[in-house]
Symmetry: C2
Subunit: 674 residues, 2 copies
């Protein structure tokens, strides 16, 4: 292992999250984050007990200021050469950096900075340092996010109404470079995900007016397919070029079938997902560009089926957790706090990475404490407290009382804390696990274990929200309206909150019941489709993929949209949130088909922590044949279905093929057919 | 009231504390803070419900970026003019500032930014904004601390060993300007509080090597009396000039007596105190330049008797509290956390400023929770936990078990929380007071009030630490050594922990007992002298002032030193902490005589919250006459003692003269003699 840049645990993510959340603009307004965003530390001590057999000469390279200490003796300033004689020492590097965050890099035999170092304030709060495989060179700076760049070709350029309209052929994200002469006066650049958006000027979400200049200017990275450029004065036309700013993540997922539209559909899904996979998982690249926990929870899952880069998931979880104390629910939304636990478990179950769980445990416990401190003391239910946003979905849910959907999420918070605590205990982190919830937890049900809390809550939910005669959960019992929406019922299936026979009842009486309002957001629609998948209703999913994503493509989509309504016409498609171009044409949640087809149609999924075992349980639905390559546990599983038979091979061990009531082990790199 | 710059409550102090704690250098090392230092917010929402009778045009001026919102409508970006029609609205300003901290200024009739605005993250955590009377002009920036500057005359300049030695005549602090020619090569500037320090070069604490340059360079503000300049190459000698960086605080305190040395002694005390009264109260200006809670607690008290500027005290308390969560004891020291409560009470008792207590209440509760969470669960005592520093004093205290001195401080934490909670309840902050200690407090003695906790603790302390037969408190009972030092005994007197007759016993058997080790630090010596003063032993104090401060002056002091030992000779005086020039020659705690003479000899002190009443109870000691002017409650009290009589006048009401067992009211601006 070579040297890595190190920093105080979490600071890299906190710093880049800070920058990201300060970059949102709408029309001519800069739009600061709607929630509390943490800042990184200003100062840190990095240390390690080292033993060197021969003298070693090194430098503690850093953009900050500070010193190097050997045992109790300060030996030099940062960026100065020092020599350590053979022997055993405590090596400490003190770094202060007010500009970005404290980091440091030592590359010399036996004293390389890496994950074996500890970061702390003075000697207090020692934690393993943060580091990242992307930062292993001395000339790097962890304050500069390591994006890749490549030119984007201009597909067409046309004069329109005295300005130039450039079409880059597909949805993109990156810096635009403008070359102009001063005589042109102010240069105005209007960005559009669609042509009408770029040309509207007044309603182009993203735009910049650059005072007269000579030469080339680089504009901040933004979303666009179209760029419309106008100048204050007639005369020379500015030249523009653009680069794609991206992470070089390779798609491992392949899925083809007798449905000829699938390749194109999966391509726009992949495009949208890659464009939103940046420092963190974004929901959309144009408008809000913030990190949202609910949307991210879906992205964690989709990403594993597309390119499986666990680092974005880790970065996103850390950015959303921020620094203690917890001052608000995640994104101010109660349900979004709960998804943090589901997301942590989802990551751990797929990766087995207990070190990451240990690294974030203090923050998870802080968030758990915050949630529990705001429960209704009498019922133990999640209720709206001051500053809370009970969201669940943009839908006509009766929120006049505690919501069933919120309580089912809370049940999952309890069961997740139970499972993660057990995992810490089993993996050498018992001392850390014992630090659970030193405060609030004891107040809200002294002595109760997480699983006891979960069971108490479940019994109460069933009594208060379940309606046996209607075969589903109502929104809330408090208002007396007895209104039923799909949301809690979808959760009940998805999170195994009820036994299988009850899930089937819910599927019939709620999910397949047209009298219950349809889900209107693609965000929650993905949960519903996952619920259908869990119930084996693959045709429902396949039909929906065709009509919804197929419909987008017919309307010119080059990446998956935030929303699509087949009943709309022309530029109506681009409107949302009361704004003519409010709809994002590149939204991560639009990438759901990748997850739906990989996990449920090809049927490839983990069956134990760390994906030590996995299953391939295909549900072809209405496809007469399909061929899939699905990433799993760092390898790939190939699944071919044709003529009623399934043939599978896998590059990793632990697989079981399940087909037609039969099971077969999947030996590594050998074909198995059932 | 005019407009003021506003910011998220506490951010001004947190930001300047961050800068201050990043400025320490020693020899050639930058020395980051030894504890966790908070950073300010990156983004804030400022809001107010306004009503304007006529249209008003204004700008939200800010160095950050963001927008102005009227009800739910964003109307313009920052620094753009907007007009509000007559009517009632919610006006919101969103500011993001990654460089410094979010602040904003609106100066237009009816919508001025001032303390009536609210600051919050989104709509959460609304608090009154922070603001300061020093920032009322549109062209100011709260990120620039409003110091005053004036030239310091050079008293002498002499060539020494190929360099130039400048003497500025007295201890100073500020920027030094160097004018040089490039041909001189690197210019080295060595700072000295003493001549030997400047000339030692190797051991000059502060120094800077400036690569060859032409013209004038401004160096960062540092402490000095002497400046020694050398150049790499022979030839032209750089010119230097210097400025004093200071706060224009006017001394209100005057004290003269038959002791002819007093004026000079009080002058070096005042010098030292002014030089250390900056963004916050520093302990010394040369070496560590950080903010220490124990030292600051003494400065709060001294400052009231010298210039009475409550804003430095408020700033210092806020800087020390920082932002939640509490990760360590204040300055990592258990006793220093306790002084935060004593300091808050001291400030409140003198000022009656309940709004400030309300502003910092959340942080005080956080610190209280932290303290209580680390008590020994069995005894309820303060004990050394991981990362704690049980300090009390540099002295031979038996720390092999819980310390009596720490427990007496904890007793004061309980009683202070009790008094502050009552004050909040009585002054319209009941809702805030009810938020006390939501967590830990309930664990450690559920249902107990603060005063019950205090009484339980006191009984236990008396049982475990008090030795009736020896007339004093031992350090700790745990080791069995039964060792007795002065510290806990001094606290017992100072904080009225024992009845008056027991205080007298302690005075005789401990304070006046030469078999008990003498206090060696001027820091704790001040507490001891205050204890002597409380016991009416004014001669002890007067003798000590003469020998200790008088001794410094004989050794050339122009400001009060960190330490003075009459047994040392020549440059031995400058050594401390194992470094030849480790002793600070300008230390705030050296200003004690101001407090001792004003509060105890002239006898002027508050007797109720907000100094609504005060007493003048002189204790002349060995002075045959004295004349004093003592600041009190925004006014001044004049006290003349001569011929066995005391004459008093005061510019503020509420005073009572106590002399020779008699009492008399002090009418405003009239003389009273007893």
């Amino acid at each position: 292992m070579g040297a890595k840049w190190i920093w105080y645990s979490g600071d890299y993510e906190v710093y880049h999250s800070m920058l990201l959340h300060a970059r949102r603009t709408e029309y001519d307004f800069a739009f600061g984050p709607m929630w509390h965003v943490s800042r990184p530390e200003m100062s840190a001590y990095f240390s390690k007990n080292i033993t060197v057999d021969a003298p070693v000469t090194a430098k503690a390279v850093s953009k900050g200021f500070g010193y190097v200490k050997l045992d109790e003796r300060r030996i030099c300033a940062l960026n100065e050469e020092f020599t350590i004689p053979a022997g055993s020492y405590r090596l400490v590097v003190n770094v202060t950096n007010l500009e970005t965050f404290p980091s440091c890099f030592i590359d010399a035999p036996g004293i390389e900075t890496d994950e074996t170092w500890t970061g702390h304030f003075n000697e207090a709060h020692p934690k393993p340092v943060g580091c990242n495989d992307a930062f292993t060179c001395v000339d790097q700076d962890p304050a500069v996010f390591p994006f890749s760049y490549k030119p984007i070709e201009i597909a067409s350029a046309n004069e329109v109404d005295g300005g130039m309209l450039y079409d880059f052929g597909q949805e993109s994200f990156g810096p635009v470079y403008v070359t102009a002469e001063k005589s042109a006066g102010t240069v105005s650049v209007y960005y559009g995900e669609s042509e009408p958006e770029a040309l509207s000027m007044k309603y182009s979400y993203l735009r910049e007016h650059i005072p007269a200049f000579d030469g080339e200017k680089k504009l901040m990275s933004r979303a666009f397919r179209y760029i419309y450029v106008r100048t204050e004065n007639a005369g020379s036309v500015p030249a523009i070029r653009a680069e794609l700013e991206y992470l070089p993540l390779e798609d491992l997922f392949v899925f083809t079938s007798d449905d000829a539209r699938l390749p194109e559909i999966l391509k726009i899904c992949s495009n949208a997902f890659h464009l939103n996979s940046r420092e963190f998982f974004l929901d959309g690249i144009k408008r809000d560009r913030w990190v949202w926990s609910g949307d991210a929870y879906q992205s964690y899952q989709v990403s594993r089926y597309l390119f499986n880069d666990p680092d974005i998931t880790r970065r996103t979880i850390r950015a959303l957790l921020g620094k203690l104390p917890v001052l608000q629910h995640t994104n101010t939304i109660n349900d979004y706090s709960a998804y943090m636990f589901l997301g942590a478990w989802d990551y751990f179950y797929a990766s087995g990475d207990i070190k990451f769980i240990a690294d974030i445990w203090e923050n998870l416990v802080g968030l758990y404490d915050f949630i529990v401190s705001r429960l209704d003391p009498e019922t133990g239910y999640v209720v709206k407290q001051e500053d809370d946003w009970i969201f669940i979905d943009w839908a006509d849910i009766d929120k006049d009382g505690p919501l069933a959907a919120e309580q089912i999420l809370l049940y999952n918070v309890y069961t997740t804390m139970d499972k993660l605590t057990a995992a810490l205990n089993e993996n050498g982190y018992a001392a850390l696990a014992a630090r659970v919830s030193p405060m609030v937890n004891k107040l809200a049900g002294a002595g109760e274990t997480y699983s006891e809390k979960a069971e108490t809550l479940k019994a109460r939910i069933m009594k208060d929200f379940w309606r046996e005669e209607r075969g589903g959960f109502i929104d809330t019992y408090a208002s007396g309206r007895e209104h039923m929406t799909r949301h809690a019922n979808i959760f009940a299936i998805l999170f195994d909150f009820v036994p299988d026979d009850v899930k089937e009842v819910i599927t019939q009486s709620v999910l397949l019941n047209d009298d219950i309002d349809q889900i209107t957001t693609p965000y929650f629609k993905l949960y519903e489709l996952m619920a259908f998948a869990r119930m084996g209703r693959m045709e429902v999913i396949q039909d929906y993929i065709d009509s919804y994503w197929g419909g987008m493509i017919k309307n010119g989509a080059t990446s998956a949209w935030e929303e699509f309504d087949p009943n709309k016409e022309g530029i109506e498609h681009y409107a949302m949130y009361g704004e003519p171009f409010g709809c994002s044409l590149c939204h991560a949640w639009g990438a759901g088909p990748i997850l739906l087809l990989g996990k449920y149609c090809a049927g490839v999924k983990e069956t134990s922590v760390g994906a030590k075992t996995f299953e391939v349980a295909p549900v072809p639905g209405r496809y007469t044949h399909f061929e899939a390559a699905v990433p799993m546990a760092g390898g790939v599983v190939n699944v071919n279905y044709a003529d009623g038979k399934v043939t599978v091979s896998a590059s990793i061990p632990g697989g079981t093929l399940k087909w037609n009531g039969r099971e077969a082990e999947i030996p590594v790199n050998q074909f198995v057919t059932l």
